[in-house]
Amino acid sequence: MANITIEGLCKGWDFPVIDDLSVEIEEGEFFVVVGPSGIGKTTLLRLIAGLESADRGRILLGEREVTHLPPYRRRVAMTFESYALYPHLTVFENISSPLRARKKDRATIERRVKAVAQLLRIDHLLDRKPGQVSGGQKQRTALGRTLVADPEVFLLDEPISHLDAKIRQDLRMQFHTLEELRRVATLYVTHDYAEALSLGDRIGVMGNGGKLVQIGSARELFERPKALFVAEHLGQPTINAIPSILQEENGSLFACAENAALRLALSPQQSQRLNGGAKRRIVLGLRPQHVRPADELRGRDSEIDAQIDIFEALGSNGIIITKAGGVTITGLTHPERHFEPGQDLRLAIDTEALHIFDAETGLSLLEEPRWQG
């Protein structure tokens, strides 16, 4: 049972992939890593597992430095994106492999494998070979092999990405309560932002330059992203990012979309944070949840005229994609409402919830620049 401490970790091939990455993950913590494809999430897990050797930096499990230990001395369990199931062994033998490697007695093996297989609902497949089960069942077999291992650290690389929505939901709920996972440190890589927000005690967003751009709770990341990159990566539909210029008029600040008619008044608090800065080029971050038809949202809103481009009725909400003053803005509405393309409507925007990012650096201008939380 141990924390994971990573200090100044570097790894690259012909270009740096992980660069000076430091993070500490507590025992029992569920730490989710999100980030775009090819950014180095798998590489980070492989470094912790010992499958890649670090160019620089240290990795500690508890008090023990493992940076140069081979994988079989680290007590780390990992799922592979490709599952890496042993094709010549049955599902049972695959799952029991970590137990057999550690010379557990037959009864224990039988009991633990059965329990895990039941949890993952593959107990009826135990005698099959991996070639004879479906992709989702393979993924669950791989997850099973990881879960039985009783390691100090779990590394889960998109472990439920290929399952159908229902089983995924079920397993997500299981992850919340699963004792194996809650006892030890878990690093969980996912592309699914809902999974990240739901599971992560903390979430680290991995960005260009091989660092964790921001680390924090789901709420923190969602409500106070420190960079446009983070805001764009978390949230569905994606945040509206509108390149704009700050203008001052009668002592208050406005954000005007570049080359377009859209103009939003900023609140006094926001103006204060921005500290003048007129003519500055910014990116306006506007979450779709804060853009609604004017008859639905009331209060401290600015209203603008817009025209419907596309309307999508999803189960729990409706998505409206509109043109307002030459800018495409995505907003939400009730799913039972109906809009026709081309229809005019008034949009209400909750300007209190606006995010403002520097156009050059992409960093938030409203949040304190507190890096590597």
């Binding site: 597992a49 499958l51 042993y86 094709p87 970590p98 490697a101 550690r102 991996p130 092999r145 291992a149």
Partner: protein
């Protein structure tokens, strides 16, 4: 109306195509039949010759069925007792060489597959394979002098076991490299993370997956060593004799005892044929490559 006509026309066309394909298939079958005759006839002639009398083998008009059966030929070939021990010697040499080729070839193949850069890369592996491309005669005499200067000399099992590595080891290395490459490295990595040490991971995961390929390689090596004549003829002869150098001894001066020669050859065919039959199940999978995908 037009539609019906179209369909009718399409049907005739389909029928014509089917007709043409059937013709092609028959032609192909006829060709295969000839091919079969062509390849099987020597075997057939060898088999019946083994049962003929010495006189019958020398008729100017060959017979395609023995006039009289002489199964005694199969006893006659062992009148010279060293003829039997030659089969044993061949067996020892072929098996010893195969085991050594497999052991060394697997190690080298694994290195080329997993650590290509450290092992010298694809070029190195190909260079090894290219060792099979020169005419063996080119090294016949130098090899003789080389082995003559070793403690065990040329006339020994060990000399041929080692010499045949020149031909079998490159082949074994190259093929094993291909088979190991087909086993995703991630499987071994998963095994390490399960807690298996490298050697155990190799035995538990990699070895079973390359086994069919390995058996095919074993067959190829074994048959090469079993049938080798050129080097054996020069190297061994008194302490050790391979069966291949016994076969010419059935020619005395101007007369060849074809029946005995064929009987002995037939006996010498038994071990490889039995091996083939026993191992065929694994072989076919191995030679069709891409052994373990999935």
């Amino acid at each position: 109306m037009a539609a019906t006509a179209d369909i009718a026309q399409a049907n005739t066309q389909a029928a014509q195509t089917a007709e043409r394909w059937r013709a092609v298939r028959y032609l192909f079958l006829i060709f295969l039949g000839f091919w079969l005759l062509f390849t099987l006839f020597p075997l057939y002639f060898m088999a019946i010759t083994a049962f003929k009398s010495a006189a019958e083998t020398n008729l100017t008009q060959p017979t395609f069925w023995p006039q009289e059966w002489f199964p005694e030929n199969f006893v006659g070939v062992f009148a010279e007792p060293t003829n039997f021990s030659a089969l044993v010697d061949s067996f020892i040499i072929a098996t010893g060489n195969t085991l050594l080729s497999l052991l060394l070839g697997s190690l080298a193949g694994y290195a080329f597959a997993r650590f290509p850069r450290q092992a010298g890369g694809e070029n190195m592996a190909f260079w090894m394979l290219s060792n099979r491309m020169f005419p063996p005669v080119a090294i016949l005499v130098p090899m003789f002098f080389l082995f003559d200067n070793t403690p065990w000399g040329t006339d020994s099992h060990i000399s041929l076991i080692i010499l045949y590595l020149v031909f079998n080891l490159p082949l074994a290395t190259w093929l094993m490299m291909v088979f190991f490459r087909d086993v995703p490295h991630e499987l071994e990595e998963a095994a390490y993370l399960d807690g298996w040490k490298p050697l155990r991971a190799f035995v538990k995961v990699t070895l079973p997956l390359v086994l069919p390929g390995m058996i095919s390689v074993a067959m190829l090596c074994w048959i090469f060593a079993w049938n080798e004549y050129l080097f054996a003829n020069l190297f061994v002869g008194s302490d050790v004799r391979t069966y291949t150098i016994v076969i010419p001894t059935f020619t005395h001066g101007s007369q060849t005892l074809w029946n005995l020669q064929m009987a002995f050859s037939l006996i010498a065919m038994i071990p490889p044929v039995v091996l083939f039959i026993v191992l065929r199940r694994y072989m076919v999978r191995g030679l069709s490559l891409g052994v373990v995908k999935g």
